[in-house]
Point group: D2
């Protein structure tokens, strides 16, 4: 089958490769013509513009967007809305906010164009492992485009089946799922990333405590100098906390046991924030997911205004005693 | 080789079986003689008392305790201290506090008896998957008893090796590790469980937000009725958050999609609390691990005194308006 | 001077009284005619409709809305927009979201009508103590309407002046402040309430720990049976944590030392949620304000889906042992 | 009446002055003889050693310790235990851990010496405002030493009485309270400081959000440039969040509106940590008090090992994309 891919960054390019490798035809476009040239050399069909791209697709057309969330998605969807015809489908595979999906899906519906939001997990490993796909939108285009989802998804692989599960019941075992109406795919992906933040922070804190067990502020009898890379490796086998993130942690610790090559300045993408906002809107107490997000916020500051205010209050009620502790510069 | 196992609950019994199945000889003892009889029928050598147990072991003796942390461990260690001889070894495989290990190890050292603390992860799956072993204590007994650790541990299995790791470098790939001096094993196990709490809570909150996305308090356009069991299954393949805990979650959701058979009253064992105390002693900000523990505390309350105080304050400054909201009974 | 007050609930009625008592003329309107009648009996001028109300005001008109945030404010603002003339002013004294202010202010500006957002704190005590007013909007109407703000605000009272402060510098000492352009007033009020949640929760947790110090799960030597009402009274004098909220807490504890008359089901208004959303938008780590909000969310649940999931996971990896703890019903 | 004061730092010296000013006789001692000389010049009776100090007191003696918690208290209590006689009393007015009180009180009881633990709040303002005293120990010495407590405490002052409270019922209105047996005083003081951390952090976060409302990362229509010092002043009057800590905050902001003279490196004393440990021991969810402590921990780090681990994981699964964000140095 034939599909278009717009946006040939690491994700879009690898997804294109995975589709081509499975025998699909992919028309590709990117603002950077070099990216188009490279993919064309690997078997994709290059397009020189959105108009060109649309003209190269059989009807009903399928156009997959793999571009940065926000303005870039908005611009592309609006431009495609002008070019596409009733029955065509736009698939947003990026990390858009589900409320934007609902708005965009509503606009496109007025012209008869389908809109699918597909949360895509897999990172740089996806080319090899496949991409977990969380899909939102109408049933008909989801079913029609299933050959692409099947190809992109990891498939059953060597993951053991879940006991008592009726394995013929759905597509989840193959690594893709129609989660619900427009927005549902990105909602699920948002929560996926929110959980990811929480899991990462749980490991990070645990290893932080392990490492600080060597601190000289502790009584000598209760001080330990742990080898974090060995412990991470140990936990990969037979422990309750084994996971893919732990595998990656073990790998990072082998390469750089002190992690001294990493800054500790941690960025966050929209999904972590939207997860907290969804929790607040639903009145769900999401302490762990929120704390994981806030730890990233804090990691990017030298000292916050709030912390200076704490110093100031201590100075006010504790007097000059505090000055000796370096709180007043 | 021959070893004694004291405590034949689920963990001790299965560990005995795994040792026997590998050709070791195991002398077993339990306060409940039925447990001894059962294991004897499976090939263990039953003992009728601690004295009897000690007399059946070759010197230097090795006695593995698999009994509840706290008083029971204390009592057994003290009783064995009377019966054992210099060069013998007591192994505490339970979930003891590492500060108690340090104290007990110090007492036993005075009589020349070795003490090893072995944090053991694996739960009811350990018989089949093997037990992850985190070992603290002196080097000599750890090396001497390695045949037991090798047998109990999961081994390399089909877990892919960590890239760039020198796989001949240690025992971690086999699922056991000498982590440091006395207490180090239980310290690492403590952090393991602390991380486990954090991971569990991250998944729990994520699914909670997914499920409450169907709440009627939300605008209809942004409301989703997700099938949590399908989503858990989906994430098992190709996603960043795949893990053994997610496998278990998927399994639970297949059996009981609404989880209506579970109370939500969640107990905690010592390790989660000790992890927070270690973080506080080391001045490590462990928001996520702490929040995970506190969520369990809160799950066991109907309403806290603190919450009633919030109601009371709101009543005081908001007046009778608040009464209408049912805050004053 | 003459002003209109729409919305004669506890807040609107008392603010009307405070204005009348100071010699202002107030035209009042409420959907419930009884409320109008009552206030008219106390010296206000009753209006029978919005049209009637508008006709009773001298130009440029000033109309103060004291109605529930959301749809009711929206409806009133839109209705007044039809009735008012260029130069008139709408004041929203309720708890609206500052982003709604910005939108409404923009719409009204197109017709030359001023919009002021005035965050109002004081609760049922405001009639006597005065209302703290946080004002957003254009400078000209803020200055013109200052006589109303001066009357409603608490004034300097017996609050000691802040040392080194130039007391002639502004209006803050009198209890009202022009905080910035449209939305600024409600933004500051939002943060005020966010802080309020945090302060309340800090006291609530502290007293919760005090009270649970009597728990029989603690070693007897470290168990205390504290009288919370005496301790609250004590802290009112000379301690670092004295505050108005503590005064209210002491009062509640005198009346009901066990707080057994309070349910502990704690509602939240929009401001606490918006505070968290603002923190997330600004990438500020606001752990305490968020935890205070989440504690209220959790107080309204029997058991969350997330907690049931924790029970389920523990069941899966811990086997039947867990069943004994009542986790599986 | 006559009492001894050991430790003439800011707290001990000012308490001595307050006692002298009220007509009490105070024998003073400090390791630094200059401190003794200064106080002697103000009317105290200087002692040259602990022996000398003890010899100058009438029986039954009363010795107040105002020295740093931990080793210094331990050393002084042990030395005094040698010198004092049955019926004498040691008062620990510092910030000791209540579990140490219980141990010390038990040791002293064996020799018939009374031990009182007196949590003392008031900081550098105490000389003028008085000190809030939270007292633990036996009833008899507490009653006997009441004249000292009455003098040190703030008294009723101009704090309005709590409505419906029977004001003759106790001493709390005067600012001192016998809270319970040994340890109870420091337990209450510990919680007092735990609450203090929570209150401070609530204000700090609120002002942090206010200040970051000017951030250029926000849409221009929703950006505000607030004057924090004016807002703090405003909230001092008529608002729900007025408090003594807010008064101090307003004062600090007048002197240094940007707080640029403060480092934001915030130390913590034992009480905040012990509060969290008490919460954990009692299984009380104390999210806010814990988050306030952790914020201080974090304020003292450039980047934590945990944050570097987050960077490392992101590098591993996100590939070179992350490098561009400066995460890999």
């Amino acid at each position: 089958m034939k599909i278009a891919m717009i946006g040939l960054g690491k994700m879009g390019a690898n997804m294109t490769r995975r589709l081509i490798n499975s025998g699909h035809e992919v028309v590709v476009y990117d603002l950077n013509p070099d990216n188009v040239t490279h993919l064309a050399a690997e078997g994709a069909e290059g397009a020189s513009s959105l108009e060109d791209l649309v003209s190269r697709l059989p009807v009903p057309r399928a156009v997959w967007l793999m571009v940065p969330a926000g303005d870039v998605v908005e611009k592309n969807v609006m431009a495609l809305a002008e070019l596409l015809e009733p029955g065509d489908t736009i698939i947003d595979g990026g990390n858009s906010y589900y409320k934007d999906d609902v708005r965009r899906g509503g606009l496109l519906k007025e012209q008869g164009v389908h809109f699918l939001d597909v949360g895509t997990s897999g990172g740089t490993w996806g080319l090899e492992r496949g991409y977990s796909l969380m899909i939102g939108g109408d049933k008909e285009p989801v079913q029609r485009l299933e050959p692409f989802f099947t190809t992109l998804a990891p498939g059953r692989g060597d993951i053991p089946p879940t006991p008592h599960r009726n394995n013929s019941a759905g597509t989840a075992e193959q690594g893709y799922l129609h989660c619900g109406p427009v927005g549902a795919g990105h909602f699920v992906k948002m929560i996926h990333n929110g959980i990811e933040y929480g899991l990462m922070q749980a490991y990070a804190e645990g290893f932080d405590i392990l490492r600080n067990a060597a601190s000289e502020s502790l009584p000598e009898a209760f001080r330990y100098d742990f080898e974090c890379s060995e412990i991470a490796e140990l936990w990969r086998r037979g422990s309750v906390i084994s996971s893919w993130l732990l595998d990656l942690t073990a790998q990072a610790l082998v390469e750089d046991p002190e992690l001294s090559g990493y800054s500790g300045y941690v960025t966050d993408s929209g999904e972590g924030r939207w997860t907290v906002q969804a929790a607040v809107e639903e009145a769900v107490s999401a302490e762990v997911l929120t704390a994981a997000l806030y730890a990233r916020f804090r990691s990017r500051q030298q000292h916050t205004f709030g912390e200076k205010m704490l110093s100031a209050m201590r100075q006010q009620f504790g007097g000059h005693i505090e000055a000796g502790k370096g709180e007043k510069i």
